[in-house]
Symmetry: C2
């Protein structure tokens, strides 16, 4: 199997290689926050892979919270969010977990964004940060 940019010879999955390349481009600023990526199909062509591999690569980046995708739109590099500060009360315990599907819908939480859990309250981690007094 012949490909331009990536190869399955190295033992690393093609979609992982592509994800690594794009991750690096995001980190380097080549794909800055807000940048609209080429369409899946175009990216697949550019990397010389099938649609599955390209989608898997994008799904990986989405799961890391690096890009966001909406149906009908092209994927976009996530912007650094402005976080609202929440003051922590003494004696409370903080954990984090992924949101339930209901929470994702109700609170409009993107894929790859965890929830901060403080007692019985939850905060999407991209819009809130907790401060220890």
């Amino acid at each position: 199997m012949v490909r331009d940019v990536v190869s399955s010879q190295g033992g690393v999955a093609v979609y992982r290689q592509i994800a690594a390349i794009m991750r690096s481009r995001i980190a380097q600023g080549e794909y800055p926050p807000g940048y609209v990526l080429p369409a899946e199909q175009d990216l697949a062509r550019q990397f010389g892979v099938g649609r599955d591999s390209m989608r898997d690569a994008l799904a990986a980046l989405r799961g890391e919270g690096l890009i966001e995708t909406r149906r009908g739109f092209r994927s976009k590099v996530r912007e650094a969010p402005v976080r609202t500060q929440v003051e922590l009360a003494p004696g409370t315990t903080v954990t984090a977990r992924m949101p339930t599907p209901e929470e994702r819908v109700e609170q409009d939480v993107f894929e790859g964004v965890p929830m901060l859990v403080v007692g019985d309250r939850t905060y999407p981690a991209d819009r809130f940060e907790l401060h220890v007094p």
Copy 2:
């Protein structure tokens, strides 16, 4: 298209319907912590869907941190983890994000598990909890 348990007529994707069913079974204790699920192929047969839909359903549950999957093994319902308490220093800020691929490998973090970020330190959220003094 005829299916036993789920249907694509309702406007909800088949894999989402299956994920909802299995999520409910986990919540109800029908699939208790540590429970080893049937093989993908068997599940697909049971639900009367293709492998793609079944895999998408399992991937959704994995992304929520409800099950864990290793190659060659069948998927398993995640056990409630024992969390080590970390004392928060006054003045620090707490956030959460998904781990990088490097962090996932180095610290053996499962899919669907976020990282707690305290200053320049990070903690896998399934093994640590933060305490406000």
